[in-house]
Symmetry: C2
Subunit: 285 residues, 2 copies
């Protein structure tokens, strides 16, 4: 069992991870590659003290190699859901189940827009994870709504098992999509069905599909961990970065403004030290 599972490999998550490792805890970071961090696209960052005039790319690469040099393990997999199991947590990491005594949420800004029918049919035709749920749609027609280039891998996997895969990109340039996939320039409007999904209404018409895969870089926090209290759209934390759930901390953009690398790094550090002190009380109990 992990001591500390960190969700997110941006500045907050990596900052938490290095102190966790230095404090001899069993730590693992789950997150998208550095290139998906908002800061990665910044041409020049001047206001993280100690690193003057670096690009966002250089910054994220330096952060990542700093963490790796200290022995931090980073897994480029998506955490789909976290379950509270008494005094520990179980993470669904693309259908691999991993246990952790504490969790640090550092999953950045999550887009909260929800499609009509998305909540209603979640688990009954709506999925956030191709690896997890793809096999259920063998021989069927599905549509993938891709939030970023990273959704293409999910679609490519589905092309191997499904009869028909439609792909609706919510971004500009398609990168490496399987030739069997039909790309639609369309605006999704509503998921419809009865007990299960029957199709997707578009601004431009309608698709008959059994599965709607909504693939975002980040799972919306409320879906990630049920029972977590929010403040507006941010995770509610106190000054020690504690959430309302025992052993769960949050750091970085997911806790709200200001959206700054320095703030994220600082909160990551505070969160992990609080987790370490919680682990120490568990050990004594």
């Amino acid at each position: 069992m992990l001591d500390i599972a960190i969700i997110g490999a941006g500045p907050a998550g990596l900052s938490a991870a290095i102190t966790g490792v230095i404090r001899n805890k069993k730590v693992k970071v789950f997150g998208n590659p550095p290139s998906t961090s908002y800061i990665y696209k910044a041409e020049r960052v001047d206001n993280y003290i100690g690193m003057l005039g670096v690009s966002g790319k250089e910054m994220m690469e330096t952060f990542t190699s700093h963490a790796k040099d200290l022995g931090v393990e980073i897994e480029n997999k998506k955490v789909i859901e976290i379950f509270q199991m008494g005094n520990y947590y179980t993470l669904n990491v693309e259908n691999e189940f991993i246990e952790a005594k504490t969790v640090i949420l550092a999953n950045g800004l999550t887009k909260t827009a929800v499609l009509e029918g998305e909540n209603e049919f979640l688990g009954r035709g709506v999925s956030y994870c191709a690896t997890c749920d793809g096999p259920l749609y063998r021989g069927k027609a599905v549509v993938v709504i891709g939030d970023s280039i990273h959704a293409e891998e999910d679609a490519n996997y589905l092309a191997e098992v499904c009869e028909q895969v439609y792909y609706i990109p919510l971004y500009k340039e398609i990168s490496h999509l399987d030739g069997r996939i039909e790309v639609l320039k369309a605006r999704p409007k509503r998921i419809f069905g009865e007990q299960v999904v029957k199709g997707l209404d578009l601004a431009e018409g309608s698709l008959d599909v059994s599965g709607v895969f909504i693939i975002k870089d980040n799972i919306p926090t409320t879906k990630l961990l049920s029972g977590l209290e929010l403040d507006n759209k941010s995770i509610r934390v106190n000054r020690m970065m504690e959430t309302n759930l025992p052993g769960v901390y949050a750091a970085g953009d997911c806790t709200g403004k200001p959206f700054q690398v320095a703030k994220a790094v600082g909160e990551g550090s505070t969160a992990v030290l609080q987790a370490v002190s919680y682990l120490n009380t568990l050990a004594k109990a």
Copy 2:
């Protein structure tokens, strides 16, 4: 008038300063030289992400030159007291009076131990600032209680104006003390007097002096700015680093645990952005 006066030139103060300057505000940092920061003495720091395996000295020098490269002005003078003046603040900077619309307290950990009689005789023989009050003791006998090597300059100045200067170092090695000063290896016990100071009781005897100069690297926060609310010994702040006083923010070790560079840097960034947004509302009013 300054937009933002920052008290303290450690990680929190410098982090605040760089973002303040980038946001085009008139900023000035008042603080001790980098070598007085706690972190300066650290042999190796690994847990500020982006700077792996640096010494505390290297870190503080990098931080300081980052700030200076962006045009941050750092004045190595001590802020003795801050007065609230309606909607701005006046700082007593070693008897030079400087006005600022907002104040960020980033003055680190202050030693709160108070000598018997210190509060009672403050301003009536007890002083925290040789430059400010030295001239009042021309031709008289005074004692300087020096918290660190930096107190020696205060003592040397007093040696020029006073009849007799005793010096009680609370640290090990005397560095550059004027030959006219009498060094006492003694433990101060109690300041005594009637209307004004008459002397200082030591564990080893007693001194007849008119002035007791208590020279610390940091002025205790409660004496620095009256009306400021504390939480235990730390400055009370909310998640936006606001104190109970309008336009006054705090960041870094002075706001409490964890005492980490990352936390200080993050809080400095949050504090200054909050100050910037407050300045913008002032400008609109």
